[in-house]
C-alpha cells in the first residue's frame, strides 16, 4: 500500500521523495521549524500551510474552516505572529518558525496559562474554533506590554465562533493576560 503521509513526529519527518500526486508541478524542498523541531519536506508549490500541517505532519489540531481567510480557525504562529495558515503556502515558510496548538503543551506537559484559562472560563463550546483563538491569545500574552481592551477585541475579531461563545472566550483571554501581566492596567475587561 502506498502511503501518502509523513511520519507523525515532525522532529523526524523527512520526505525523500514527493508523494505521487497527479500533477507534479513545481516541487520544492522546504526547511522550517515546527513546534521547535526542524522539518524538511518536499512540497508542491500550491500546498497550503494548513494542509501541510494537517495532512503531511499530522498536526490536526490546526482546524480548517472557511479556507479563504474569514474564520480564523486555522490560525498558527509564524515567527511569533498569528497568521492564517489557509492564506499561506507551505513553500513560503522556508526558514520560518511555526507554532501550532500541539506545541503549547506537548505530551504530559502542564497546560499553558492560556489553555488553562480557556478550560477554567469555559472559553469554548463545540471547540472547533478553539485552536485558532488559543494561538492568537498566546501571541497576545507574549507581547512585551499588556495589550489594551481595544487590542484584545481587535485580535479576537479575527476569529469566528459559530457557537457565539465570545463572552467566555474574552474572559479566558483576559484571565490569561491578568496572570501574565499581574497588576496590569486593563483589568478583567468585563
Amino acid at each position: 500500500m502506498t502511503t501518502y503521509l509523513a511520519t507523525p513526529d515532525p522532529a523526524t519527518a523527512t520526505h525523500a521523495a514527493p508523494p505521487p500526486l497527479a500533477e507534479p508541478s513545481g516541487w520544492h524542498e522546504i526547511r522550517l521549524t515546527v513546534n521547535g523541531a526542524p522539518v524538511t519536506a518536499q512540497v508542491e508549490s500550491r500546498l497550503l500551510l494548513s494542509d501541510f500541517l494537517r495532512d503531511r505532519l499530522r498536526l490536526t489540531g490546526t482546524h480548517v474552516g472557511c479556507e479563504h481567510g474569514v474564520c480564523g480557525a486555522c490560525t498558527v504562529l509564524v515567527d511569533g505572529e498569528p497568521a492564517r495558515s489557509c492564506l499561506t503556502l507551505a513553500v513560503q515558510c522556508t526558514g520560518a518558525e511555526l507554532r501550532t496548538v500541539e506545541g503549547l503543551a506537548p505530551g504530559d506537559a502542564p497546560l499553558t496559562p492560556v489553555q488553562r484559562a480557556f478550560h477554567e472560563c469555559h472559553g469554548m463550546q463545540c471547540g472547533f474554533c478553539t485552536p485558532g483563538f488559543v494561538m492568537t491569545a498566546t501571541a497576545l500574552t507574549e507581547q512585551p506590554e499588556r495589550p489594551d481592551a481595544a487590542d484584545v477585541a481587535d485580535a479576537l475579531s479575527g476569529h469566528l465562533c459559530r457557537c457565539t461563545g465570545y463572552r467566555n472566550i474574552r474572559r479566558a483571554v483576559c484571565q490569561a493576560l491578568d496572570e501574565r501581566f499581574a497588576g496590569g492596567p486593563a483589568g478583567r475587561g468585563e
Binding site: S25, R46, E81, A83, R84, C86, L87, G158
Partner: protein
C-alpha cells in the same frame, strides 16, 4: 477548493524578479503577503503558471524616511510593521489608521502595504489613503524604473498602472507638514471591506483660523479611489464650521456616483459618505498642528 498547479520562485533581486515576470510562456503573478492572492488561487479565480515571491529580495524590505522627509515603504514591508513603526505613527498617522482598518491582525501580519495597493480593490483602505497622501509609486520594468503619481496609478477595479512584466518596488509618501487627518469608514463588521469610507487631510492657514488646503478621497464609491475637488473647494478658505461642513457634505452628495450592490444602494452610500465626510473633517480640523 485548492489552487491549480503552479510553479514558485523566490528570487533574491529585483532583476531576477523582472526576468521571471518577463516569461512569455506562462502567466506570472507577484506574491508578497498573499492575503488577497491566495484566496483567489484557492477559489481558482486566478490560475497563474508561476508565482514570484518577492519577500526574499533584501532591498524590498526597507521602510525608511529619506533626507527630504519622505517615507519609503518597500514592496515586501508587511502592513503591521508599517502601522507599528514609530516614524509612520508620528509622520503619517493617516496611513497607520488606514492599515488598522484592514481585516484583522492575523491578516495584517502577512499582508503587505504595496501588495494591497497593487491589488487595488477599490473598497480597500490603502488605495484611498495613498491618494489622500499624494503617494508616488516606483515601478521597475524591463525598460528601467519609472515613478507614477497616485492620480494615475489606480486605473480600474483590480487594475493599476503596473504592467504584467513590471514590479511595484516601493511607495513614497511626501512629508505631511502638520496636516490634520482622519480616516472614517462604514463597514458591516469591523475588519470588513468598507461599504463606503473617506480619507480627509486639512491644513490650517498661518492665522490658524481658516482651511488653507483640503483633500477628500472616498473608497467604496467607484472603480478607483474618488477624489472630489468640489468638496475640497467647499472647505478651502472657510473656518471649517457648520456652514462649511454642510457645503462640503452637499458637494459630496452631488459629486459621488457609487454603484448599487447587495450591501447597499447608491443612495445609501452617498448619504453615508456625506455623514462620514463631516465626521472626518471635524476630526481632521482638531488634529491640525
Amino acid at each position: 477548493m485548492k489552487p491549480t498547479p503552479f510553479d514558485y520562485s523566490a528570487p533574491g533581486s529585483v532583476a531576477e524578479v523582472l526576468a521571471l515576470l518577463a516569461d512569455e510562456e506562462r502567466e506570472a503573478k507577484v506574491l508578497a503577503g498573499g492575503q488577497s492572492l491566495i484566496p483567489m488561487l484557492s477559489m481558482r479565480l486566478a490560475r497563474p503558471g508561476l508565482l514570484v515571491d518577492i519577500t526574499r529580495v533584501p532591498c524590498l524590505d526597507r521602510l525608511y524616511v529619506d533626507a527630504s522627509g519622505a517615507l519609503h515603504v518597500g514592496a515586501a514591508v508587511r502592513q503591521s510593521r508599517a502601522a507599528d513603526d514609530p516614524a509612520v505613527h508620528d509622520g503619517w498617522p493617516l496611513l497607520a489608521a488606514a492599515i488598522r482598518r484592514i481585516g484583522h491582525p492575523q491578516i495584517r501580519h502577512r499582508g503587505t502595504v504595496c501588495g494591497s495597493l497593487a491589488h487595488h480593490d477599490p473598497a480597500a483602505e490603502l488605495p484611498t489613503a495613498a491618494l489622500a497622501l499624494d503617494a508616488r509609486f516606483v515601478i521597475a520594468g524591463p525598460g528601467g524604473t519609472r515613478t507614477v503619481g497616485a492620480a494615475d496609478f489606480f486605473v480600474a477595479t483590480f487594475q493599476t498602472a503596473v504592467a504584467p512584466d513590471e514590479l511595484l518596488t516601493e511607495v513614497v509618501l511626501p512629508p505631511r507638514a502638520g496636516d490634520g487627518w482622519a480616516f472614517e469608514e462604514l463597514a458591516r463588521r469591523h475588519g470588513d471591506f468598507a461599504t463606503v469610507g473617506v480619507a480627509v487631510t486639512l491644513r490650517r492657514a498661518p492665522d490658524r483660523r481658516t482651511v488653507a488646503a483640503a483633500r477628500a478621497v472616498f473608497c467604496g464609491a467607484g472603480p478607483v479611489p474618488v477624489r472630489l475637488p468640489a468638496v475640497e473647494e467647499a472647505l478651502t478658505g472657510t473656518d471649517a464650521g457648520a456652514a462649511a461642513l454642510d457645503a462640503a457634505a452637499s458637494a459630496a452628495l452631488a459629486g459621488l456616483t457609487p454603484a448599487d450592490d447587495v450591501h447597499a444602494t447608491a443612495a445609501y452610500r452617498r448619504e453615508a459618505a456625506a455623514h462620514l465626510l463631516v465626521r472626518a473633517c471635524t476630526l481632521a480640523w482638531e488634529r491640525c498642528s
